[in-house]
C-alpha cells in the first residue's frame, strides 16, 4: 500500500490532456495512412478514404447516445428486485 498523498503522473490534468491530444494525433495519422497502401476490399464502401475510422467513430458515438436514451427507460434503483 502506498501513500495516498503521493502525486502520480496521471493526477496532473495537463498530462491527461496530453493523452487526449496524442489519441487525436494518432487518429489523424491513421486517417492519412489510407493514402499510402492498396486496400484489399470486399464491398465498395470499404474503399472510401478513411472509411474504417469514420465508421468506428460514428458507431461509438451512436452506441453511447442510444445507450444513454435507453437508460432513461431501463434504469431502476439498485434494490429494485429485493422484495
Amino acid at each position: 500500500m502506498d501513500d495516498p498523498k503521493k502525486r502520480y503522473w496521471l493526477d496532473e490534468p495537463n498530462n491527461v490532456s496530453k493523452i487526449y491530444w496524442t489519441v487525436c494525433a494518432v487518429c489523424a495519422a491513421l486517417f492519412v495512412a489510407d493514402a499510402f497502401y492498396h486496400k484489399h476490399i470486399h464491398f465498395g464502401a470499404e474503399g472510401w478514404f478513411g472509411f474504417y475510422g469514420i465508421y468506428g467513430f460514428v458507431a461509438c458515438v451512436g452506441l453511447v447516445l442510444v445507450a444513454k436514451l435507453l437508460r432513461i427507460i431501463l434504469i431502476r434503483p439498485e434494490d429494485y428486485y429485493d422484495d
Binding site: 470486399h42 467513430f57 452506441l63
Partner: protein, 563 residues
C-alpha cells in the same frame, strides 16, 4: 483402459477425492487433475471409442476429432488457470464444484452421441450452480436458483428433442443434425438457451456476477463455449444462426455501456463475443468454422483474464461497482497491466489474441457477401473496444481517484493472470500453433497491411469517440442502479401475473365460500326449526304414539308383502 477413459471423467472422479484431502494436498491435487486430463487427451487415438450398450442404444463416450480436440485443449487450460487462480480459496465445495464442472464440459465435447451429451450437459448445470451458491448470500442463492432452473430447463428440452429425433431418424449420433422437424428444433433451442441467444440470454448476466470471485472465472469458460461447440457440431451452415449471432454481437453492448457492475459489463461483452462465434457457425464455411473455433479458444483466455482482474479488484476492495471504484492503478499496478492485456485482446488489437481469430470470422462474412452482417460485426467490434476495452480498465483503475488503497492481488491470482496474459500475447504474435489445431486446414493470413491498418483505424477512432465524449461530459456516468433486461419477465412480470391470478382465485374462493356459507346457514336454520329444542321432531312423544307408529309401519309392511 486408457483408450476408454474420457478425460472429463478424470476431473469428475478426481473432484470426488478432493473432500478427503486437506490443505496443500487438496489444492495440489486440484492442480494435478487438469494436467492428468490433458495428458489423457493427448493419449487418445482419433476416432470413436468407449462404447457402452444401454437399453439397446450404443453410447459413444469418446469421439476424438479436430473439433472436439481444440475445445478439449482450451477447456483443460482454462481449468488449470482457474485452479491456480483459486489456490488461496479454503472452500472444498468450490474446489469440488469447479473441477467436476470443468470435467463435465470436457466430457461433453468428447460425447459421440446425444445421450452422453445430455448427461454431461445436465452435469455442467448441477455442478456449476454451487460456484454461485458458494458466495453464501441471499441474492446469490436466488440467482443460483434462477440459473439452475434455466440450465436444467435447457437439459429437459434437449432430452425431449433427442427422444423425438431418435424416433424419427432412428439415430442418436451427435453429428450434423440440421434444423428439420420438431426434434432437431428442440435440440437447437436447448443449445440456444445455453449459448445465450437473444431473449434467452439473461441467465448469464443475472448469474455470473453473483458467483464467487473465483467461481465466475470457471463459469466464464465452459457453459457457453460448450454450447458453441454443440452448435458447431450439430448446426453448421444454418443460415438463421447468422442473424441470431449478429443480433447477439450488437444488442448486449448497449447494456454494457450503462451497466454499473463491472463483472456484469463483462457478462454482456461475453454475450457479444459469443455472437461472433455463432455468426461463424451460421456462415458454415471452412474459414468461418475455423474462425469460430479459434475465437472460442482465444476468447476463453482473454475473458478469463478480464474476469480474473475484476475478481482481484472485488477480492481486495469488496466492491465491483464502477461508481465506487477508480484510481486503483496506484495500488494494483500488476492487475491493471494484466487487465489491459485482456482488454487489448478482446478488442482485437494487432499482436493480441482476438485479432487473429475474430478477423477470420469477419473476413468470412465479407467473403460470403453478407454485407449487412459484416457491418453489424464491424459496429460490434468498435463497440466492444469501447465498453470492454476502455470502460472496464478505465472505471476500475483510472477515472477519478476513489481514494481506495488496497494491497496488490495475492500471488496466485497474479500468477494465473500473468500466464493467461502471456498466452493472449503469444497467440496474437505467433498464431501458427493455434491455426494448426483448428478443424480445417488454415489458408488465412491475419497480418496483412489492410487488416492491420483498418483494424487500428476502427479501434483508435473508437478510443477517440470515448475521449471526446468524456472530455465534453457527454459520456453517461456510472450510476448505482440496475437496468431492466429480459430477466424482468421472470423476476417481475410473471410473478406479478401469478400474483394477480392467485389474488383472483382467492377472491373467487372467498366469494364461493360466502355463498356456500349462506346456504349452509339456511339449511341449519331449517334443521333447527324441526330438530331444535322446540322443533316438531324434537318434542317428547308419549310411548303409545311410538307404538302406534310401529304398528302402522308393520301393517304397511304386511300389506305390501302379501300384495
Amino acid at each position: 483402459m486408457t483408450d476408454i477413459l474420457s478425460p472429463g471423467l478424470i476431473l469428475i472422479l478426481g473432484s470426488l477425492v478432493l473432500p478427503f484431502l486437506k490443505g496443500i494436498w487438496q489444492r495440489g491435487f486440484m492442480l494435478l487433475l487438469p494436467v492428468l486430463g490433458f495428458w489423457q487427451t493427448l493419449m487418445l487415438a482419433p476416432g470413436e471409442s468407449g462404447a457402452i450398450e444401454i437399453f439397446g442404444l450404443t453410447l459413444i463416450t469418446i469421439r476424438v476429432d479436430a473439433l472436439s480436440l481444440v475445445f478439449a485443449y482450451i477447456f483443460h487450460i482454462a481449468a488449470l488457470i482457474s485452479a491456480i487462480y483459486a489456490w488461496h480459496v479454503r472452500d472444498t465445495v468450490q474446489h469440488v464444484a469447479g473441477m467436476a464442472y470443468a470435467g463435465a464440459a470436457i466430457g461433453a465435447v468428447f460425447a459421440g452421441d446425444l445421450i452422453t451429451l445430455f448427461v454431461y450437459w445436465e452435469l455442467t448445470a448441477l455442478t456449476s450452480v454451487f460456484l454461485i451458491w458458494a458466495r453464501r448470500e441471499e441474492s446469490a442463492y436466488r440467482a443460483g436458483l434462477r440459473y439452475l432452473l434455466v440450465q436444467v430447463g435447457s437439459g429437459v428440452i434437449l432430452l425431449a428433442g433427442i427422444v423425438i429425433h431418435q424416433q424419427q431418424s432412428g439415430s442418436i449420433a451427435f453429428t450434423k443434425i440440421g434444423l428439420d422437424g420438431l426434434g432437431p428444433t428442440l435440440i437447437f433451442l436447448a443449445f440456444g438457451i445455453k449459448c445465450a441467444f437473444p431473449l434467452l440470454h439473461n441467465w448469464l448476466q443475472d448469474a455470473y456476477p453473483e458467483a464467487t470471485v473465483t467461481g465466475t472465472v470457471f463459469l466464464s469458460a465452459f457453459t457457453t463455449k460448450l454450447a458453441v461447440y454443440a452448435l458447431a457440431r450439430g448446426f453448421p451452415g444454418t443460415e438463421m444462426l447468422i442473424w441470431i449471432g449478429a443480433t447477439m454481437t450488437a444488442f448486449p453492448i448497449f447494456y454494457a455501456v450503462i451497466e454499473n457492475d463491472l463483472r456484469r459489463v463483462l457478462a454482456y461483452s461475453l454475450n457479444n463475443q459469443l455472437g461472433f462465434m455463432v455468426v461463424g457457425i451460421g456462415i458454415g464455411t471452412e474459414l468461418s468454422l475455423n474462425g469460430t473455433a479459434a475465437h472460442a479458444f482465444s476468447h476463453i483466455l482473454y475473458k478469463a483474464l478480464l474476469f480474473m482482474s475484476m475478481g482481484a479488484v472485488l477480492f481486495r476492495t469488496g466492491t465491483i461497482k464502477g461508481s465506487e471504484l477508480g484510481g486503483l492503478y496506484k495500488s494494483m499496478p500488476w492487475t491493471t497491466g494484466f487487465c489491459i492485456v485482456g482488454a487489448a485482446s478482446i478488442s482485437a488489437f494487432p499482436l493480441f489474441s482476438g485479432f487473429i481469430s475474430k478477423s477470420m470470422i469477419i473476413t468470412a462474412a465479407a467473403g460470403g457477401g453478407h454485407w449487412f452482417t459484416w457491418g453489424v460485426l464491424l459496429f460490434a467490434s468498435a463497440g466492444v473496444f469501447h465498453h470492454s476495452g476502455i470502460k472496464i480498465p478505465y472505471f476500475a483503475f483510472f477515472a477519478h481517484d476513489s481514494g481506495i488503497r488496497v494491497k496488490e492481488a495475492p500471488f496466485n491470482m497474479l500468477l494465473a493472470m500473468g500466464l493467461t496474459a502471456f498466452l493472449c500475447i503469444a497467440i496474437g504474435v505467433y498464431p501458427a500453433p493455434l491455426y494448426a489445431i483448428l478443424p480445417f486446414p488454415v489458408d488465412f493470413v491475419p497480418y496483412t497491411v489492410t487488416h492491420v491498418i483498418t483494424q487500428l483505424q476502427l479501434l483508435m477512432y473508437s478510443a477517440l469517440a470515448f475521449a471526446v465524449l468524456m472530455r465534453f461530459g457527454i459520456y453517461p456516468p456510472e450510476l448505482r442502479s440496475v437496468n431492466l433486461d429480459s430477466d424482468w419477465i421472470y423476476r417481475r412480470f410473471l410473478p406479478r401475473i401469478v400474483g394477480a391470478i392467485r389474488n383472483g382465485l382467492a377472491a373467487l374462493q372467498q366469494g364461493a365460500e360466502t355463498v356456500a356459507e349462506r346456504w349452509l346457514r339456511r339449511l341449519l336454520a331449517v334443521v333447527f326449526h324441526y330438530h331444535g329444542p322446540s322443533g316438531l321432531l324434537a318434542r317428547t312423544w308419549p310411548i303409545g304414539g311410538a307404538a302406534l307408529c310401529v304398528l302402522a309401519m308393520l301393517g304397511g309392511f304386511l300389506l305390501t308383502y302379501f300384495l
